[in-house]
């Protein structure tokens, strides 16, 4: 097990390193000069040259890349934001808790609603409830996140006036963003739970459990659900990535100052170090969750022998 985890961590580091190189490269070859965005289009050549020299933008591509990687890996220094005149790592540190809180609640809510909904549909296959839930989940996966958010704002902020349409501090401010973000994930998780449960319910050991007179609720909860969990967990961990990405949209709609909004602002202002830092954070978080889930498999299903 320890060997497996060690190998996976090593692989993760490799993936993260590659992500850093790829994002740096994409942004390096992006047309447009950050100096002009920072100093204005009419800035004189001297101040632009000074700007380039200050941030090392006058160096060659390998030199800049090497410097970026060296500082990021050995000094945990993600560079200096052109716009905010501060360390990228400081800016990220201020925003990460907000985004994590949003993603965490969204994962929690979508899991707590999605799994029971899927289980319910699977034990009442082809019932009215099942058809209704199938229809709702179909709509759920097809609704753009930003539209869900806009509709919720129209309904609950504009017309009913129950919930605020901005911010992410108090409980009432948190409801709409979390519902917006978890909407499609609920649908995806419920769908996967349903199909995974349906497969398990047909197996012999479920029939055995029923045959020996086990209570139906225990058959479902103790025999079927744990065995159906692996694909569900995979989907949840994949959803975490979708949610982190989706938080960019959600943060934009509800004016939440998290990593996503920081990145959007940075993209508009060509503030490359901030974009690099944001992508890095989201990818690392995503990879870590996937790693944790992979390790969790082994605990949930002892049959999985770690190679």
């Amino acid at each position: 097990m320890a060997k497996y985890i060690f190998r996976r961590v090593l692989l993760l580091l490799l993936v993260v390193l590659s992500v850093m190189i790829i994002i740096f490269t994409i942004l390096y070859f992006t047309p447009g000069d950050p100096a002009k965005s920072a100093l204005g289009q009419e800035a004189n050549p001297e101040s632009i040259a000074a700007f380039h020299a200050k941030y090392g933008l006058d160096k060659s591509y390998p030199e800049q890349l090497g410097r970026y990687l060296y500082k990021a890996i050995f000094k945990l220094d993600l560079g200096y934001s052109y716009m905010m005149k501060s360390q990228v790592s400081m800016e990220l540190a201020a925003r990460i808790p907000v985004t994590m809180k949003l993603a965490f609640w969204a994962v929690l809510v979508s899991t707590l609603i999605g799994i029971p909904l899927g289980v319910l549909c699977s034990i009442r296959q082809y019932s009215f409830l099942d058809s209704l839930a199938t229809l709702i989940t179909l709509l759920g996966v097809s609704m753009p996140t930003f539209w869900t958010g806009l509709l919720l704002i129209i309904a609950f902020s504009v017309h009913l006036g129950w919930l605020p349409s901005m911010g992410f501090g108090s409980v009432s401010e948190m409801i709409l963003p979390i519902v917006t973000l978890s909407g499609s994930s609920i649908a995806v998780i419920a769908r996967m739970t349903r199909s995974s449960m349906l497969e398990v319910i047909r197996s012999d050991y479920i029939r055995t459990a029923r045959a020996k007179g086990q209570k139906e609720s225990i058959v479902i909860m103790r025999h079927a659900l744990p065995n159906a969990m692996i694909p569900i967990l995979t989907v949840i961990s994949m959803q975490f990535g979708t949610l982190l990405g989706g938080s960019i949209v959600t943060e934009a709609i509800f004016s939440i100052s998290g990593v996503g909004r920081l990145m959007l602002e940075a993209i508009n202002l060509r503030d490359y170090p901030v974009i690099q830092g944001g992508v890095l954070f989201i990818s690392v978080a995503f990879c870590l969750i996937n790693l944790l889930v992979d390790i969790l498999y082994a605990f949930i299903d002892p049959r999985i022998h770690v190679k």
Partner: protein, 283 residues
């Protein structure tokens, strides 16, 4: 030849039983007609401004109302169908072509080539799709074609993985060996013998990917990174409707409805095709 005919027939028979898929096809047909005949169907031009009719709610002259420049929302939605379908099709073609080639090479040749190519795909998968689309499209700059490329690149790994696993399951079979024994080249084996046999999952994935591509396009435009005004992209329309959410809520409803109906239709078709093409469910 006879075999492919019967396969197609069986697929069609099974598809006909799936009402959701039929509904999806009907909706798609309507959308395609909108896209093709936009000039004839739309009551107004998408850029035609009428300053006497600014943000008027739905009425007899403007069935879905007018936007902040007095432009007819219905006409913009009809022209928007053209953009969305275009982006969806071309983006998926890009990912199908590149991803399919990568997957075919990785699966067919195996070994180190497989390892390197699939690790590259894994790295790309470590960046959430929408995030990668945002970064690429901001690097390429705004514009329809750049948007297609950005969205297309993001689903390359999915096609590569799918193609690879299909190729792996087929390349060990006897008819491939027979083709090789007859002296067929690698390219010929891949194109003539392997590709037709993994068409089914590719078709399903392509349909679902068109839906995803349209969704990503709308998201990017909503964030201001996609198609620029005055082009009537559905996501962009929602984005410009946002400031008027308090007084003209209908502006935020119809473009979203258009997106959702399109995605639902494509998802229904994709699910229907998957069920119909799945040989395990034959009879």
């Amino acid at each position: 030849m006879a075999k492919s005919n019967s396969m197609l027939r069986y697929t069609l028979i099974r598809l006909k039983r799936n009402y959701l898929a039929i509904l999806g096809f009907v909706v798609l047909l309507v959308l395609i007609s909108c896209a093709v005949f936009a000039n004839q169907l739309a009551p107004y031009d998408y850029a035609e401004q009428d300053y006497m009719m600014i943000r008027k709610p739905p009425s007899a002259t403007h069935l879905l109302g007018t936007d902040e420049f007095g432009r007819d929302v219905l006409s913009r939605l009809i022209f928007g169908a053209k953009i969305s379908l275009q982006v969806g099709l071309i983006a998926v073609s890009i990912s199908l072509l590149i991803g399919g080639t990568i997957g075919a090479i990785a699966g067919y040749f195996g070994g180190r080539m497989d390892n390197i190519l699939m690790r590259i795909m894994d790295i790309q998968l470590a960046i959430p799709t929408i995030l990668l689309a945002i970064v690429i499209s901001s690097a390429l700059g705004p514009g329809l074609f750049n948007l297609m490329v950005a969205v297309g690149i993001t689903s390359i790994p999915r096609f590569a993985r799918l193609m690879r696993s299909s190729v792996l399951s087929i390349k060990g079979q006897e008819f491939i060996e027979a083709a090789r024994a007859m002296g067929a080249s690698h390219l010929r084996i891949i194109l003539m013998y392997i590709l037709p046999n993994c068409a089914a999952p590719l078709i399903v994935q392509s349909t679902l990917s068109v839906a995803a591509a349209i969704l990503y396009t709308a998201t990017l435009s909503f964030l201001g990174l996609g198609i620029q005004p005055p082009f009537p992209e559905w996501g962009g329309m929602l984005s410009s409707a946002r400031p008027y959410i308090r007084n003209s809520g209908y502006l935020s409803i119809f473009p979203g409805l258009a997106i959702m109906i399109t995605i639902v239709a494509l998802n229904c078709i994709g699910d229907g095709l998957r069920d119909a093409l799945d040989p395990k469910q034959k009879r």
